[in-house]
């Protein structure tokens, strides 16, 4: 007796000035005595009209408020995922999820389990790179906090005993699924309900252990786990101390390491500036900064706000999603800046 999972995904994506793109496919996963196989096949084709409309609607609402120069970086994706799990030929669970993802300049603007969610631009204007940003206190935006954490975990070992500045304690915990619905796989969260079925118990572990690979079809044509940073783990990063926003503040929105080793390395950052009035301005051009991941996380003295979706876009290992709060550090920008035009 074998376990089958039918995983269908349809998505529409608007990206900057490029035309819309669609994806529509189905994966059939079978776990039986002979092993586990997955097959990418054709679903019943239909024009994803709803998805296109929903994606256009979110795209338009965010675009309306974006400062000029940011338009080409805006990406909006809407999708529907349907999972159907059957055991011994009998359907045991069916679940359908819709989602909307909007991101710009590396910032996840919205990631919500609904179609065509309304969202607005986080920035109202642009801010030039000049001397004034050097004196600002530093805040790690959710995606930057995730990038620093992933780097630290990859090279400096465990997140245990990671203390922020003073009494603040960072909490880095692993999520059991990605916040980005196409990367998570909910069909098998059935252990409680079906754990009495002996045959189910035999088949389920093989699917559970391999689930990220089986639904992430983009990994099928590449060497599996070729890098330590394989994008298959998802982290939630928060801090036990809530503090107000420093005002004004330099927010590092994204951080991309330009080296892959422990210790102090150079990073390329996108950034925003939060003014005294709370207005956000998007930064022009990349910043180059230098710091050691563990040391920077050690300078955190609190979080401001709730957990928000975060994404690290690694040029080799693909997108890795997680959750993080903006983290406020006691470092001033000039202490880590290696360039500022």
């Amino acid at each position: 007796m074998s376990l089958h999972l039918r995983y269908r995904f349809s998505k529409a994506q608007h990206q900057g000035s490029s035309a819309v793109s669609f994806t529509d496919a189905e994966i059939l996963i079978e776990a039986g005595r002979k092993g586990t196989t997955a097959q990418l096949t054709s679903p019943t084709r239909r024009e994803p009209v709803d998805l296109v409309k929903a994606s256009e609607s979110t795209f338009t609402s965010v675009m309306a408020g974006l400062p000029s120069g940011f338009e080409k970086d805006l990406t909006v994706e809407t999708g529907i995922i349907t999972e159907e799990l059957s055991f011994a030929g009998k359907a045991v669970r069916r679940k359908k999820r819709a989602y909307t993802l909007a991101s710009c300049h590396g910032v996840v603007i919205i990631l919500k389990e609904s179609l065509g969610a309304k969202a607005s631009s986080p920035w109202t204007k642009r801010v030039p790179q000049d001397e004034t940003i050097k004196t600002l206190p530093l805040v790690l935006g959710p995606s930057a906090a995730l990038a620093v954490t992933v780097h630290m975990l990859e090279f400096s070992g465990s997140q245990r005993d990671l203390r922020g500045n003073g009494k603040a304690i960072l909490d880095i915990s692993e999520l059991d699924h990605s916040p980005y619905p196409p990367q998570s796989f909910v069909g098998l969260r059935l252990h409680g309900k079906y754990s009495r079925l002996a045959d189910w118990k035999k088949s389920a572990p093989s699917l559970v252990t391999v689930k990220p690979l089986l639904v992430r079809y983009e990994l099928w044509s590449r060497p599996f786990a070729a890098f330590f940073h394989d994008g298959l783990r998802h982290w939630a990063i928060s801090c036990d101390t809530q503090v107000p926003w420093p005002s004004p503040a330099l927010i590092l929105d994204t951080l991309t390491p330009l080296d892959c080793c422990p210790g102090k390395v150079e990073w390329e950052a996108t950034y925003s500036v939060r003014g005294e009035d709370g207005v956000m301005a998007g930064g022009c051009g990349p910043l180059h900064v230098q710091f050691e991941a563990r040391q920077l996380l050690g300078s955190i003295y609190g979080a401001t706000g709730e957990l928000m979706p975060a994404c690290v876009d690694d040029p080799i290992a693909d997108k890795q999603f997680g959750l993080a709060t903006p983290l406020v550090s006691d470092v001033l920008a000039h202490q880590i800046l290696s360039n500022c035009q």
């Binding site: 035309a19 089986l214 590449r222 693909d318």
Partner: protein, 393 residues
């Protein structure tokens, strides 16, 4: 309209051991039939399933030739042979592809590639050392024959290796190590589209270095007559001539932007990915000097056996030194060093003094760019002697 179709089959085996109980493994197989259609307006549709029959481009199911049970057994044996911890991920991909569209030929392209990745932790070390081997075809013969030798070299040498100190030293790069540096310092700079600047004319290496890119190089990890945009290979593309960058590797899109002709270098990880300019097989013209003579002329310095995790960030070349050996009085000393990195300027090959007569293809042909990781990006290089190499602890 242009359409890209693919039918592929991949196999994954995860195997691990810890010296005492080694060799447990799991395996998975994934089969994909899919296509991507780009219409005149630039809209792109990625679809699962076979192409419509009337398009006349259906492909036979790809077959993984090597049998699973012996492969699993050989991976288990490899894990059991290590005294320390080890984890190996075996991946194999066999794929048929067709690109069809206005005025283009529709040759069916087939390829197969394999990779073994993972880590090794010798008993005396707290650190894990990365393992990465890959190439054309399927990997059974490498796993059975060469992998044991590679692991023996690493296990026996790392056991007594000292930590490297930061320094600037004369060095000889083994063919495998030289391949990593050539790939980063020359190959990536030759790929169009990485920066808006046309880099041709730049002196990127010393005059003893000339390099071509050849998708049809004998025994190369890459092997194709047509690239993923149906551009046919008409022979090697000269990339570096006597140290000067004279040619770039193009896709039709980047060639149009640069006002030149495309080269057969548009490659995509799958038909759902956009083909971008990538190296195929980078071939460095060898020198005439035996490696032993190069070491004699080096007199004192480092012989770099193995590098990993090469990165070119546009300004600096980085690579992990997995294994190097001290050279004294022109001889190998058996004093191994590890746990260091090369961190040198992007033009470090300008310090190349001479090349060996011992060219070999790299044992690790994996390369990632723009979220597309390929198994089969080859480099054939001889040993290279450098007057100076910056290494950091």
């Amino acid at each position: 309209m242009i359409a890209y179709f693919e039918r592929s089959r991949s196999r994954f085996i995860v195997s691990h051991g810890n010296g005492l109980s080694g060799g447990a493994n799991e395996s998975y197989e994934c089969e994909a039939e899919r296509g991507r259609i780009r219409d005149e307006d630039g809209r792109s549709y990625s679809l699962g399933g076979a192409p419509p029959r009337k398009w006349n481009c259906r492909m036979p199911p790809p077959v993984l030739e090597e049998e699973l049970p012996p492969l699993r057994r050989d991976l288990q044996n490899l894990c059991r042979s290590c005294d320390g911890g080890i984890q190996l991920h075996y991946s194999a991909l066999v794929s048929h592809r067709i690109t069809t569209g206005l005025g283009l030929e529709q040759p069916r392209r087939s390829f197969s590639a394999w990779a073994v990745t993972g880590w090794l932790c010798p008993p005396s070390h707290a650190n894990a050392f990365p393992i990465g081997w890959s190439g054309r075809g399927e990997g059974a013969s490498w796993i059975k024959n060469r992998a044991t030798l590679e692991l023996d070299l690493l296990n026996s040498s790392l056991e007594r290796a000292e930590a490297l100190q930061s320094d600037s030293v004369p060095a000889v790069l083994s063919p495998y190590a030289a391949a990593v540096i050539l790939h980063e310092a020359i190959g990536h700079r030759a790929e169009a589209g990485r920066s808006s600047r046309n880099a041709t004319g730049l002196v990127v290496a010393s005059e003893c270095i000339s390099v071509v890119d050849d998708p049809l190089a004998q025994d190369g990890p890459a092997s194709y007559e047509f690239d993923d945009e149906n551009i046919r290979s008409l022979g090697p593309t000269t990339v570096v001539l006597e140290g000067k960058l004279v040619g770039q590797l193009h896709s039709p899109k980047t060639a149009t932007l640069a006002g030149t002709l495309p080269t057969p270098n548009a490659r995509a990880a799958s038909c759902w990915d956009v083909p971008i300019p990538r190296m195929s097989n980078l071939i460095c013209v060898p020198g005439t000097v035996p490696e032993e003579e190069m070491l004699e002329r080096l007199w004192k310095g480092l012989y770099i056996h193995r590098l990993a995790n090469g990165i070119n960030n546009g300004r600096v070349i980085h690579a992990d030194i997995i294994l190097a050996e001290r050279i004294q009085s022109g001889k190998r000393t058996g004093r191994f060093v590890t746990a260091g990195r090369i961190r040198d300027e992007i033009n470090l090959l300008r310090r190349a003094v001479e090349l060996g007569n011992n060219p070999e293809f790299n044992s690790n042909a994996m390369c990632g760019r723009e979220n597309q990781l390929l198994f089969n990006v080859g480099v054939r290089s001889p040993s290279i002697r450098l007057s100076e190499l910056a290494v950091v602890a």
